[in-house]
Symmetry: C2
C-alpha cells in the first residue's frame, strides 16, 4: 500500500498529528513514572543494567515512533495502534477510508 | 613499564584484590544511590536520556575497570587511584617498590 493512496485534508492532518502528540505525551509520562518507580527499588548492579537495557530499547523505539511528516502519518498512526499507544477511537474525524487503511496496516 | 617488572607475593595479591573489590563495592553502591536520587527528580524526556547516557558511560567504565587477573593488577590498581576510586592508603601492605610503580602509573 502506498502512502499516495491516501489524500489527507488539512483538518485530517491536524487530527492525526494531535493523536500522535497525545500518544507521545502519554508514552513519555508512563516512561517517567516507570523509571521513578523502578529506580527506587534498585539494590543490585544487575538491576542497574536491566534499567540501562530498558532505556536503550525505549530510546530506540521512541526515536523512531513519532514521525509526523505528512508522508509517514499513516504508518506512524498504524504502528501506534499496533503497539497499543493509540486506539481506533483516536482516529475519529479521519475519513472512513483512511481509518480502514490505518487499521489494516496495524494488523500486519 | 612491563607487568613482568613486578613480582607479587600471594599476600600482595590478596591485598590488591581486596582493595579492588572494596573499590568495586563502593562504586556500585554510589552508582545505585545516585540513580535512586536522580531518578526520583526526573520530569522530562531529556532527563531520561541523560540518565541513559550516564548509565551507558558507567557500564562501559565498570566493565573495563575491575580486571583482577594477576597480569593486570598493577594497571587496575593504578587506574582506580587515577580515577579516585582508591587512595594511596589502600596500597598499604604492598612492597614499597610496587606502591611506587602503581603511583607512577596513576600519574600518567
Amino acid at each position: 500500500m502506498q502512502q499516495a493512496d491516501v489524500q489527507w485534508s488539512d483538518e485530517e492532518k491536524q487530527i492525526a498529528k494531535a493523536a500522535l502528540r497525545r500518544a507521545y505525551e502519554q508514552e513519555v509520562e508512563a516512561l517517567i513514572d516507570s523509571i521513578r518507580n523502578n529506580a527506587s527499588k534498585i539494590s543490585r548492579l544487575e538491576e542497574v543494567w536491566q534499567l540501562h537495557d530498558f532505556l536503550s530499547a525505549k530510546r530506540h523505539a521512541i526515536d523512531g515512533r513519532y514521525d509526523e511528516r505528512d508522508d509517514f502519518l499513516m504508518f506512524t498512526l498504524s504502528s501506534l495502534i499496533k503497539d497499543g499507544l493509540l486506539t481506533k477511537a483516536d482516529l475519529t474525524g479521519l475519513t472512513a477510508g483512511t481509518q480502514a487503511k490505518i487499521n489494516l496496516l496495524a494488523r500486519m
